[in-house]
């Protein structure tokens, strides 16, 4: 890194240490954010294509070859539409709400490691930081609902807030299990704790119930189908963002997809060995690139879960509101608590992959 930089920027070493740190961090942020935003854009295209195919349609196919420029067409359309602020609404909160829901979705990426060397902020309490930031996203939804001065929006915001608070607890408990298995709150250390032979040492096997609870809670936290009662088109029009138009609505849209990608990367990091290769440690793959840990594996595993999000949306009917609450409070939280106890017994008895951590 150091030698590379001195080649590109001849006067690099003349910068002070603090300035170097700031510049390197800014560069890392750009390297991370640009593909992420492009990924979000093409995730929307991919969703429309997948759902189209599942419903025996073609999906978007008019803008560019095979409709590949569709996300940009959507973006340009939204940018040029007027943002209408409803009468008697709270103007400041109405405008700031989309930002409040989008910013945490992107800021949380700072602590997510892309490989064992590339992470924007390698903080000790990374997992807590991510939990704190994902819990902030609900403010955008609540404020959007309240500031719109509309009954539908307020109802949507209330549903969403109750749902997010309920599933956050199950999510937090599932992560307690991950921390116990990984022995660290640092995401990089959690991934490194899953090193071993092929897929056998990933946390998904000993923590399978927690993995299911975490991913389903993630779907509920992002207000995605089948838990999308906050939007509930058939009952409350579009829920919390019913009064939003143009790019203000676009930001909510962006935040939802960014949150989905964040949930997938976290699921992969916590349960599926992050950037580790599924061929690692197998005979016959010893020296090949297939066994080496790399970004390809991280992105590949993420794609599976991103597809699941779309698959769920295309195939599942929407949950009824009381059933969502029942699932969160009466099913997921007891499952996670029981499994934490089981895991504690396994750690104490030295069974399982983490026998060395005690």
């Amino acid at each position: 890194m150091e030698t590379l930089l001195s080649n590109v920027v001849p006067f690099w070493s003349s910068f002070s240490g603090d300035l170097q740190l700031v510049l390197v961090s800014a560069a890392k942020v750009i390297v991370l954010l640009v593909p992420l935003i492009l990924g979000v854009a093409y995730f929307t295209y991919w969703e429309r294509k997948i759902i189209g195919w599942m419903q025996n349609r073609l999906g978007p196919n008019r803008v560019g070859p095979k409709g590949l420029l569709q996300p940009f067409a959507d973006l340009i359309k939204m940018l040029f539409k007027e943002v209408i602020v409803p009468a008697n609404s709270n103007r400041f909160l109405f405008v700031i709400a989309p930002l409040l829901s989008m910013v945490p979705a992107f800021v949380a990426w700072a602590a997510v490691p892309m490989s064992d060397t590339f992470v924007v902020a390698d903080i000790n309490a990374g997992l807590l930081y991510i939990l704190a930031l994902t819990s902030l996203g609900v403010y955008g939804v609540i404020l959007a609902g309240w500031a719109s001065n509309s009954k539908y929006a307020l109802l949507g915001a209330m549903r969403s807030a109750a749902q997010i608070v309920a599933y956050e607890i199950a999510m937090g408990f599932a992560l307690v299990g991950v921390v116990m298995a990984g022995g660290s709150l640092n995401l990089g250390d959690i991934v490194l704790a899953q090193q071993g032979t092929s897929i056998a040492s990933w946390f998904i096997w000993p923590l399978f119930p927690l993995f299911l609870v975490y991913f389903i809670s993630g779907v509920a936290e992002t207000n995605r189908s089948p838990f999308d009662v906050a939007e509930g088109e058939s009952e409350i029009v579009a829920g919390f963002h019913v009064e939003y138009s143009g790019i203000a609505f676009g930001l909510f849209f962006l935040a939802e997809y960014a949150n989905m990608i964040l949930i997938t990367v976290l699921t992969v990091t916590f349960f599926l060995g992050g950037w580790l290769s599924p061929f690692a440690g197998l005979p016959g793959f010893a020296d090949s690139w297939l066994a080496a840990p790399s970004l390809i594996w991280l992105v590949g595993k993420m794609f599976i879960f991103m597809f699941c999000f779309l698959w769920f949306r295309a195939t599942f009917p929407r949950y009824r509101y009381d059933q969502i609450m029942r699932l969160g409070w009466k099913v997921f939280i007891p499952i996670t608590i029981v499994w934490i106890v089981v895991e504690a017994c396994m750690v104490a008895l030295g069974i399982g992959p983490w026998s060395g951590t005690v």
Partner: protein
């Protein structure tokens, strides 16, 4: 230098937000100012290298408590006039509390001006020092009884809160999901065979 500049910036925002909590007319705005105040104080904790406490403050208070608080405040139809009625009566109590706090803060500042031995600023710790781990190791060894007592108290509060809502009302209409799921066709529909001819 940078640290003190950051401190004064965030402390100023914190005080402004705290003033906003008590001065704004709309209760929702007050709650949002309180959120801002929490975030600012968490930044101040970050500056004194208490990362765990800072993140937990955001996680617990901003992420959970204030969300529920906002939830309630938005649903309530609060009559501001009615709340103002007791202002002169409660003013003296509030002023007394404020005076007390001012005296305490003054005392802390006075101690620092005396350069006493026990007020020396601790050295800043290396970057790989994890205060989450340190806090855990103290909490689960030295203070384990106090910690478990607090946990039991919280559990008791949860049980009490649940019992308050668990009362059975006569005529309450609720769905039993197990029964709904296990319903069979024979329970709902009766298939009758009839002649297709009409007379």
């Amino acid at each position: 230098m940078i640290t003190s500049a950051l401190f004064y910036t965030f402390a100023a925002i914190l005080i402004a937000a705290a003033l906003g909590v008590i001065l704004s007319r709309n209760p929702v705005h007050s709650a949002l100012f309180l959120v801002l105040a929490f975030v600012q104080s968490s930044v101040l904790w970050l500056l004194i290298e208490a990362e765990f406490l800072a993140i937990v403050l955001v996680l617990v208070y901003v992420g959970a408590v204030m969300v529920l608080f906002l939830f309630v405040v938005m649903m309530l139809d609060i009559n501001v006039e009615e709340l103002r009625e007791g202002f002169t009566r409660y003013f003296w109590v509030g002023a007394g509390v404020a005076l007390f706090v001012v005296i305490e803060v003054g005392q802390v500042i006075w101690y620092r001006s005396q350069n006493l031995e026990f007020m020396v600023r601790p050295e800043s710790l290396p970057a790989d020092y994890s205060n989450t781990k340190e806090l855990g190791s103290v909490l689960y060894t030295e203070h384990v009884y106090a910690f478990e007592l607090a946990a039991m108290l919280l559990l008791l509060a949860i049980v009490a809160a649940i019992t308050l809502t668990m009362r059975k009302r006569p005529g309450l209409k609720a769905q039993d999901i197990t029964r709904q799921v296990s319903v069979r066709r024979e329970d709902r529909v009766r298939i009758v065979s009839m002649d297709s001819t009409k007379d």
